[in-house]
């Protein structure tokens, strides 16, 4: 009977879920061209509907349950005609950053320290939110790490989102919250607003914020643009704009760009009309992009009793990480 225990999955040595069932490792174990996962279970910087603090755990669970990554063996990816690779080959999960609910600065530094360490090692930090504010500390650490690893390199930025998040302040939440993360990122030393692109913006936005972005050369593609031009073309233009004069790309995936009819489990829902298929097409357009870092945010499991939100989000990661997860042997 004891021998049967060894057939359990995951191994008892690593209880709990890790993203894509990858190995649990320390930041210092990271190496080049490897995805380094950082959880950011914080929704203390969201202004209304909470629950994204449970996002990292839900994403880890959902990605683990994706059948193509199960331990029964590699499976066939029909989109690339390649076999999937075990996450052990390309990903480490570094656990969660230390969140201090009452101290946004402490939380910011804790997250940034992890993504900085991963970036210095040459790995690609993948941060799991959390509300969208946490995108800023994740990118802050990436920016710091990049400045140390490659001092003259600048990075472009694409944010797939239903909202601009470019406000300077938001009511009682001040300057550091889920409506200001892109503004704070724009103030980092190795990025220009002219290399920042937003995709999927829906509805009404703050006219002052929009004008400020476009006056500085940033580019905004609305949800309507995705419908009119097509997701692939929008992302082709977005990537070209973001990468002008840049060597690396930071990608921020806010799941709320998808229409709330499909994806209700997020803090700030919009009715963009963007379907799962369109969202995946957007991410397919980035599968070969020179990713330096990325995050996925606003997954709020308590707001979606059907649990489909986290599986849609897991599929998003599955898409954008295709280069890694299928980089092994091609099917004969």
């Amino acid at each position: 009977m004891t021998a049967a225990i060894t057939t359990f999955h995951p191994p008892l040595a690593q209880p709990g879920y890790r993203l894509f069932d990858g190995p649990l490792r320390d930041v210092t174990d990271a190496h080049a061209d490897q995805i380094g996962v950082v959880g950011m279970p914080s929704d203390w910087t969201h202004s209304s509907r909470l629950g994204t603090r449970f996002g990292p755990e839900a994403l880890r669970k959902a990605t683990t349950l994706l059948q193509s990554m199960r331990p029964q063996g590699a499976s066939f990816d029909p989109d690339t005609s390649r076999r999937t690779a075990s996450a052990t080959d390309w990903l480490i999960d570094c656990g969660d950053a230390e969140i201090t609910a009452q101290d946004v600065d402490a939380t910011t530094e804790a997250i940034a320290a992890m993504t900085e360490g991963l970036t210095i090692a040459g790995a690609i930090p993948l941060a799991l939110g959390g509300d969208h504010y946490n995108s800023y500390p994740a990118c802050l650490g990436y920016s710091r790490g990049l400045a140390k690893r490659a001092p003259n390199v600048r990075f472009g930025y694409i944010q797939i989102d239903g909202h601009l998040d470019f406000s300077d302040r938001l009511g009682a939440w001040g300057s550091h919250n889920h409506a200001t993360n892109a503004r704070r990122i724009s103030e980092l030393p190795n990025i220009d607003v002219s290399n920042m692109v937003w995709v999927g913006i829906a509805g009404w936005v703050d006219g002052g914020d929009l004008a400020l972005i476009e006056e500085q050369g940033g580019r905004v593609f609305s949800a309507g643009d995705v419908h009119k031009l097509g997701a692939a073309e929008v992302m082709r233009q977005a990537l070209a704009h973001a990468m002008q004069g840049c060597d690396e790309l930071y990608l921020s995936i806010d799941i709320d760009a998808m229409d709330a009819g499909y994806l209700p489990g997020t803090g700030s829902i919009v009715h963009s009309g963007i379907t799962p298929r369109q969202y995946y097409d957007l991410l397919d357009g980035l599968a070969e992009a020179p990713l330096g870092g990325l995050d996925i945010v606003e997954v709020s499991p308590p707001l979606d009793p059907s649990e489909r939100t986290e599986f849609l989000a897991a599929e998003m990661l599955f898409r954008v990480l295709r280069r890694f997860r299928t980089r092994s042997v091609a099917v004969a």
Partner: protein, 291 residues
């Protein structure tokens, strides 16, 4: 003057529709948009909960109350790139609160009386239901109006029906908006005002999980906004929102339906107030377009 209060958290303080001023019904003026809640449901719905819709709609509307947010400059329709001034909104949008609940007869009588008074004052009522049969009461209070019905079950062949629910072998939804707009123009008598019945069932069910009467082949948000924007450019005595059940079993935290309705309603409000919006994706006013 636009309300420029301290930047309270959006969910704090007295709840009014889009953070509008509150008024007594006797103070409603000609040209006002007067919001009235009727948190009442009859037993026709399969699940209880439609009486909670007025509060749910008000809660969601707060997200669009940017005229009351001193840190928000002005809204821009991102698809049309249309710059919208909302400075006049606070003067003309007001919230009258909810009708006090009593017996069923009392509720209907109070709703009928309030609707008549708003109409007599020359204002447009924005009535937050509540279950769909209440619309019949409002219709009865506005006998001089032509009725346009978005979604719901057709009840009067003289009314104009947009994407009605299938009615037992009768007409199913027509998605030819251009043809329907032409038919509407032909049907419309501009000498008398409109009563608009806006039921959540007008939407394709995949867009909203909170509708008690699911339907396939409903309209998308853009089309509904186009209709409401068109209707808002006519004289309207009242628009009534029905069909939202924020308490669908197990779905109380999913606020998709109310968001869908309020987003669409904003097109009506802007058109009614003459803010120049047509509908997303269409430019109507070159001088307002951001470059």
């Amino acid at each position: 003057m636009p309300l420029r209060s301290a930047p309270l958290p959006r969910m704090a303080g007295q709840l009014s529709f889009m953070r509008a001023q509150t008024k007594a019904i006797c103070d409603v003026r000609p040209g006002d948009l007067a919001v009235l809640g009727i948190p009442f449901e009859d037993t026709s719905a399969p699940y209880a909960g439609q009486s909670l819709a007025p509060r749910a709609l008000r809660e969601t509307s707060v997200y669009f109350g940017w005229h009351a947010n001193p840190q928000f400059s002005h809204p821009v329709d991102i698809d049309a790139r249309q710059d919208i001034s909302t400075d006049g909104l606070h003067e003309r949008l007001c919230d009258l609160g909810d009708i006090s609940l009593g017996s069923e007869d009392t509720c209907h009588a109070a709703l009928k009386s309030a609707t008549s008074q708003i109409s007599c004052n020359g204002a447009c009522g924005i009535i937050l239901g509540g279950s769909d049969p209440l619309s019949e009461t409002v219709s009865g209070a506005l006998p001089e109006c032509q009725t346009v019905q978005l979604g719901g079950t057709p009840s009067d062949t003289r009314d104009f029906h947009i994407a009605p629910l299938p009615n037992g072998g009768g007409t199913t939804c027509s998605l030819d908006t251009t043809a329907q707009l032409a038919a509407f123009s032909e049907w419309r008598d501009a000498s008398i005002p409109l009563f608009v019945r806006f039921d959540l069932s007008v939407f394709e069910t995949s867009l909203s999980a909170l509708c008690d009467r699911p339907r396939l082949g409903g309209l998308d948000l853009d089309t509904v906004m186009q209709w409401l924007s068109t209707l808002g450019q006519h004289e309207v005595s009242a628009i009534m929102l029905t069909g939202l059940n924020p308490n669908r079993p197990g779905m109380g935290v999913v606020k998709v339906g109310q968001r869908l309705m309020v987003t669409a309603l904003l097109a009506f409000i802007y058109a009614r107030l003459g803010f120049g919006i047509d509908h997303p994706g269409r430019l109507t006013s070159k001088e307002n377009v951001l470059t």
